[in-house]
């Protein structure tokens, strides 16, 4: 029996906490406005013979260090405590949501994308090609409607699948997002630098390189602290 630690990440109002409650059976207070989850909460669920430990992270649009929520979420993801990430997305607002998804993928943990609020998508007659999305992101994508308790079985099965085939679902860093050739040249140089230095083994070298190029103050601070 294994304990699988799953970080639940998503943007504000993506139904992340509703999904967390559905999966763990918790009765957390859900408000109909963004920003109610400031601290991370933990809940448990049974997945066959295994135990899933779900950590509900605060809702963030991004993983820079704009706010305390973003810092809390990102520090946890970087801490190495989570085996995988469950990324809850408001599927009716797909394009904006994928910004966070790409940042999650860049950190290097396996990510399961959950397209939540599929009822709204269907109502608006929007078609989402799940297979193509999964191919493009190179990561599993599952449909759900947390409010109607739909998707629980599929999500549990996917957590198990990813956990027991973690190698298959962990992407080589360079395969996640390809930037322009000019940017890639600089990224490669920086990545090589971080990789060669033992003090940075706890972090994804590619991730550090990308954040430094983005002028991320938090990443700069992190490097100063480690050095």
């Amino acid at each position: 029996m294994a304990e699988i630690t799953v970080a639940v990440a998503g943007q504000p109002n993506s139904g992340k906490s509703t999904m967390f409650n559905l999966l763990t059976g918790a009765r957390q207070y859900i408000a109909n406005y963004p920003g109610v989850t400031v601290e991370k909460k933990t809940g448990y669920l049974k997945i066959g013979d295994d135990k899933g430990k779900l950590v509900d992270l605060p809702g963030t649009y991004s993983l820079s260090s704009y706010s305390i929520e973003e810092t809390v979420a990102r520090d946890y993801l970087l801490s190495g405590q989570a085996d995988l990430v469950l990324n809850i997305i408001d599927a009716s607002n797909l394009e904006r949501s994928l910004n966070l998804t790409l940042q999650l993928l860049e950190i290097g943990l396996p990510v399961i994308v959950v397209l939540n609020m599929m009822d709204v998508v269907d109502k608006r007659k929007i078609k989402i090609d799940l297979k193509k999305l999964s191919q493009k992101l190179n990561t599993p994508v599952v449909k759900a409607v947390a409010k109607q308790a739909k998707g629980k079985t599929e999500i549990k099965a996917m957590i198990k699948e990813v956990y027991y085939n973690i190698k298959k679902y962990s992407r080589p860093e360079a395969e996640i997002i390809q930037y322009s050739p000019e940017l890639e040249a600089d990224l490669e140089e920086l990545t090589a630098y971080f990789k060669a230095d033992k003090r940075f083994t706890n972090y994804s070298a590619r991730w550090l390189a990308v954040r430094i190029m983005a002028g991320d103050k938090h990443a700069e601070k992190l490097i100063r602290e480690v050095s």
Binding site: Y61, S62, S65, Y66, S92, E95, R96, K217
Partner: protein, 78 residues
């Protein structure tokens, strides 16, 4: 087409984002919320005391201050 600051627009105006002249965290934040060059938007309304201004962008309604809108360069449709 003429490029102007987003804070010069009136409710009902539609256009496209051209550039964001905000550095650091504020610029990053606006991009996180969908203010990316090429994206279309509609000005929905101004708050009673002018600030903030509500915009519809990528199926989301987002309110920002005029002070921030000043640094967003746009072209207006029509």
């Amino acid at each position: 087409m003429e490029k102007i600051s987003l804070n010069k627009l009136k409710p009902g105006d539609q256009g496209k984002i051209v550039n964001i002249f905000l550095q650091g965290a504020s610029g990053r934040r606006l991009m996180d919320l969908g203010f990316i060059p090429g994206n279309e938007f509609t000005v929905v309304r101004n708050a009673p005391l002018v600030d903030p201004v509500e915009l519809e962008i990528k199926d989301s309604n987002i309110s920002i201050r005029h002070e921030e809108a000043r640094y967003i360069e746009v072209v207006v449709n029509g």
